[in-house]
C-alpha cells in the first residue's frame, strides 16, 4: 500500500500521470462503446430508422412538386377563383407530355386521385394525347375532357405545391384538408379511422382485463406450487408459443365453428339445441386473442410472485388479518409491478393484432393494423399507412407515462 498521494509528485510527473489516466479512461470508454455498438446499431437500424421513415412517409408529398414542376410554378400566382390562363394550361401540357414519356404521370395521377376521385383518369386520358396537343392548350385540353374547366382540379394541384403535407395525418383522424387549407370532417359514411381506433383500444383493453382475471390466479398457483409441479405448469403456459400464431388462429376456427368441437359437445350433452355463434364475431376474437396473449400476462406475474416470501401473508394472518385483507393489503401490492408489466405487454401487443380478428372476427371486429396492412402492402399508399401507424404510436406514447406511474409507485412500495 503506497500512501503517497498523487499530487505529491513534481508537476511534470503529475501531468504525465493525468494524461496516462485520461488515456486509460478513454480506452476503457471506447471499449465500452465498442461493446454496446452492436446493440446501438441494431436499435438504430431496426427501431429508429423505421420509425423515422414512417413519420417521414406520413408527411412526405414529393409527387406533385417533382412530377408536375411547371404547372405548380405557374399556379403560384393564380387567384384560385377563375379558370387559370393559357400559360398554366401550356405548362400542364408540357408536364404531362414529359410525365407520360418518363412514366411519372401515372404516379402523380394516383397521388392526386387520393384527393379527388377521377383525377387519375382525367390526367392519364389527357396525358396520353399531350404529345400531339397544340396551342391554344386551354381549348385543346377542355375539348379532350371538360373537367379541365372545373376549378377543383386546379385547386388540388395548387394545394400540393409543397414537399410536405398534413393530408395523410388529417385523413387518419377522419379529417379532410381542403384546397384552401381549411379542415373539414369527412362525410359520416366515409369515416373509418377514429371509430376503428376506438374499437382497437377497446378490444385491447378487454383482452387485457380478461388476461388479468384468468392469468392472476394461474400465476399465483404456479408461484406457490412445489418446484417439480411448477416446472410442468410453466411448460403448459409456454406450450402455445411453440406453434405459429396462424396455426393457433386456424385451430380456433375448428374449435369454435358452428359444427366445431365446442358446439358439438354442448349439443351432445343436451345443454343447447341451436349451435352458439362463437366465431366471426367479437366473442371469437376475445377468446382467441386471450389464448394467444395469456402467457404474456402470466410470466411477468409469476416472476414477481415467485419473489414474495410466503411468510408475509402468514405473518399478516397471525396478526389477525382476514384472508381477504391479507391478500389485499399485503400480497396484492407486492404483485403490482408484475401486473403492470403484464398489462403493458398484453395491451401493446393486442393493439397490433390483425390476422386473428381478420380470420375469426366479423365485419365490425377489424382492428387498425388491418387497415395499416391494407395500405402498406396492397395499395402501397405509404403516406396513409404511415399516418395510421403514427396514430397507434401516439396512443401508446400517451398511455406509457400512466403505466410508469402505476408500476413505479408499486415498485417503490416494494422497496
Amino acid at each position: 500500500m503506497t500512501s503517497q498521494p498523487i499530487d505529491a509528485g513534481p508537476a511534470p510527473d503529475r501531468n504525465i500521470l493525468k494524461a496516462n489516466l485520461r488515456r486509460a479512461e478513454r480506452r476503457r470508454k471506447m471499449r465500452a462503446y465498442g461493446l454496446i455498438a452492436p446493440l446501438f446499431l441494431f436499435l438504430l437500424a431496426f427501431f429508429l430508422v423505421p420509425i423515422g421513415s414512417v413519420l417521414y412517409f406520413s408527411v412526405s408529398n414529393p409527387e406533385v412538386v417533382t412530377m408536375l414542376p411547371r404547372v405548380t410554378a405557374a399556379l403560384r400566382d393564380w387567384d384560385t377563383r377563375s379558370l387559370p390562363g393559357e400559360a398554366v394550361f401550356a405548362a400542364l401540357a408540357e408536364d404531362m407530355k414529359q410525365g407520360y414519356a418518363d412514366t411519372t404521370l401515372p404516379k402523380v395521377s394516383l397521388r392526386l386521385n387520393y384527393e379527388v376521385s377521377g383525377f387519375r383518369s382525367l390526367l392519364m386520358r389527357t396525358g396520353r394525347k399531350a404529345k400531339h396537343m397544340k396551342a391554344p392548350f386551354k381549348a385543346a385540353m377542355i375539348a379532350r375532357d371538360k373537367r379541365w374547366a372545373e376549378l377543383t382540379y386546379w385547386r388540388t394541384i395548387k394545394a400540393n405545391d409543397s414537399r410536405y403535407t398534413l393530408h395523410y395525418l388529417l385523413q387518419a383522424l377522419d379529417l379532410d384538408l381542403q384546397w384552401d387549407g381549411s379542415v373539414r370532417r369527412v362525410a359520416p359514411d366515409h369515416q373509418i379511422y377514429l371509430s376503428n381506433l376506438r374499437r382497437t383500444l377497446w378490444i385491447a383493453l378487454v383482452v387485457t382485463i380478461i388476461c388479468i382475471l384468468l392469468g392472476y390466479p394461474v400465476a399465483c398457483i404456479i408461484a406457490t406450487a412445489p418446484p417439480r409441479v411448477a416446472k410442468y405448469l410453466i411448460l403448459l403456459v409456454l406450450l402455445p408459443f411453440w406453434t405459429s400464431l396462424l396455426v393457433r388462429t386456424a385451430a380456433w376456427v375448428i374449435v369454435l365453428q358452428k359444427s366445431g368441437i365446442v358446439n358439438d359437445a354442448l349439443i351432445g350433452l343436451g345443454l343447447i339445441e341451436v349451435p352458439l355463434a362463437l366465431i366471426f364475431n367479437r366473442t371469437g376474437v376475445y377468446i382467441s386473442m386471450v389464448h394467444i396473449l395469456l402467457p404474456f400476462m402470466i410470466l411477468p406475474l409469476y416472476s414477481v410472485m415467485k419473489g414474495i416470501p410466503g411468510d408475509h401473508v402468514r405473518a399478516a394472518a397471525s396478526l389477525g388479518a382476514t384472508p381477504r385483507s391479507a391478500f389485499l393489503s399485503v400480497y396484492f401490492p407486492q404483485t403490482v409491478p408484475g401486473l403492470a408489466a403484464g398489462c403493458l405487454l398484453v395491451f401493446v401487443i393486442s393493439l397490433g393484432f390483425y390476422i386473428t380478428p381478420m380470420l375469426i372476427g366479423g365485419g365490425s371486429d377489424q382492428m387498425l393494423a388491418y387497415l395499416i396492412a391494407e395500405f402498406a402492402t396492397n395499395t402501397a399508399n405509404w403516406g396513409l399507412a404511415g399516418a395510421l401507424a403514427m396514430l397507434l404510436l401516439v396512443c401508446i406514447a400517451v398511455l406509457y407515462p400512466f403505466y410508469q406511474r402505476f408500476a413505479g409507485a408499486g415498485g417503490m412500495k416494494l422497496g
Binding site: 387520393y114 366479423g362 396492397n378
Partner: protein, 350 residues
C-alpha cells in the same frame, strides 16, 4: 490494438454484406401465388420448361398488392423475371413502365387466345370465376339464381361474401337486375353506388366475410354458411374430395390473372420463350385437368376432360360473365377504389 481488431472485424463483415448484395447473375425466376396452385404450375409448366431448355428455374411467391413492386421500383432491384399479377397491378405496372410491353409475335397470334387474355403488358394465365356456390345438404330449398342469394325468406341462413368491394358491388347490382353491360354505367352514379350498398345492406346481418379463397368452400362443407361466393377452382377442389357442392354460373365475375415480364430483366428472351411454352394447348389442358381454372388458349378446351369442362369458366358458363379486366371496370376501380374502400369499410363496421 483492440479497437483495430474491432474495426477489422467490422470492415470484414461489411465486406461480406457488400459481396452478398452485389449482383450475382441470377437464374431465370418466376413468381406466382404459392400453395397448391403453384405446385400444379411447377408440375405442368415450370419444370418441363426448365428441362426442355436445360436451365435451372427459380421460384418465388408473390403476395399480391403493389408493395413488392414499389420496393422494386425504389431500389431498382429485379428479383423476378416473370410474375403472375391481377388486373390493377397489371395496369399500374404497365403504365409506370415496370413491365415489358409485349411483342405478341414472339408469343403467338392474338386470335389464338380468349379476349380477356390479351393485353398490352400481360398474357392471361388462368381464367378464374367468382360465383355463388352452395351445399345442397345445408338448405331445404336450393338457390337457382343470384337473386336467391339476397332472398332471406326463401333461403334463410348465413351467406359468405368476399371481403372486398371489387366484384362484390358488381355482384349485388347484377343480382338486383342490372345488366352485365351497364354495371359500371350504373355504379358511376351516386344513386347506382347507393343501390349496390343498399342491396348488400338488405342481407348484412347474414353476411359472413371471407378473406382467403380457401375459407368459402370450408364453410360450405362445415355448414357455417348456406351459400357463398367462391372461386370455381376451390369448389371443384372440394368436390374432388367428395363434397357435393354446386355452382350457379349466372353473371359470374371473371378474373384473368396475367403473366408479365419485368423491364430490365436479364432473361427477357427466356421469359418470352417461357410464355410461348406456356401457351401450348395440351400443356394448358393438363394443368386444368389438375386444377379447374380456364385457359387463355382457346384450343386447350379440346384436350380437357368433359366432366372437368362442364365445371369450367369457359363456353356457355361464361356467356353472361362480368370480366373484371374490361376497360370500364379497370377505369372505374382505378379512379374510385380509394374512396369506395373508405365507404365500404365504414359500412362493413357499422
Amino acid at each position: 490494438m483492440t479497437i483495430n481488431k474491432y474495426l477489422t472485424a467490422a470492415a470484414v463483415s461489411l465486406g461480406i454484406v457488400a459481396m452478398a448484395g452485389a449482383a450475382v447473375a441470377r437464374d431465370f425466376t418466376i413468381a406466382s401465388w404459392g400453395g397448391g396452385y403453384q405446385d400444379s404450375q411447377r408440375k405442368n409448366f415450370f419444370k418441363p420448361f426448365g428441362d426442355s431448355k436445360g436451365i435451372k428455374i427459380l421460384e418465388d411467391t408473390y403476395l399480391g398488392g403493389w408493395a413488392q413492386f414499389k420496393a422494386m421500383q425504389e431500389t431498382g432491384n429485379r428479383p423476378w423475371d416473370v410474375v403472375q399479377v391481377e388486373t390493377s397491378e397489371l395496369i399500374r405496372g404497365c403504365e409506370e413502365g415496370l413491365f415489358v410491353k409485349l411483342d405478341w409475335s414472339r408469343i403467338g397470334d392474338k386470335s389464338m387466345f380468349i379476349e380477356p387474355a390479351v393485353t398490352e403488358c400481360g398474357l392471361g394465365v388462368a381464367v378464374v370465376s367468382q360465383l355463388v356456390g352452395y351445399n345442397p345438404k345445408n338448405t331445404k330449398v336450393e338457390p337457382t339464381s343470384n337473386a336467391d342469394f339476397f332472398d332471406l325468406k326463401k333461403i334463410p341462413g348465413k351467406r359468405g361474401l368476399r371481403s372486398d368491394p371489387k366484384g362484390t358491388l358488381e355482384f349485388a347490382l347484377m343480382a338486383d337486375g342490372v345488366d352485365v353491360k351497364d354495371v359500371y354505367k350504373v355504379m358511376n352514379t351516386k344513386a347506382g353506388l347507393d343501390r349496390a350498398f343498399a342491396k348488400l345492406d338488405s342481407i348484412k346481418s347474414s353476411i359472413q366475410w371471407w378473406e382467403a379463397g380457401a375459407q368459402a368452400p370450408e364453410w360450405l362443407v362445415s355448414g357455417d354458411v348456406v351459400m357463398s361466393t367462391a372461386y370455381n377452382g376451390r369448389i371443384s377442389k372440394a368436390n374432388k374430395d367428395g363434397h357435393g357442392l354446386k355452382m350457379i354460373w349466372q353473371n359470374n365475375i371473371l378474373y384473368v390473372d396475367k403473366w408479365v415480364i419485368f423491364k430490365g430483366s436479364e432473361h427477357v428472351d427466356t421469359a418470352y420463350e417461357y410464355l410461348k411454352f406456356f401457351t401450348d394447348p395440351k400443356r394448358e389442358a393438363a394443368f386444368t385437368n389438375d386444377y379447374t381454372y380456364g385457359q387463355p388458349n382457346k384450343a386447350a378446351l379440346k384436350y380437357i376432360k368433359p366432366e372437368v369442362a362442364a365445371a369450367l369458366p369457359a363456353g356457355a358458363n361464361i356467356a353472361d360473365a362480368m370480366d373484371t379486366g374490361r376497360a370500364d371496370s379497370v377505369e372505374f376501380w382505378l379512379d374510385n377504389s380509394d374512396e369506395i374502400f373508405q365507404r365500404w369499410t365504414a359500412w362493413k363496421a357499422k
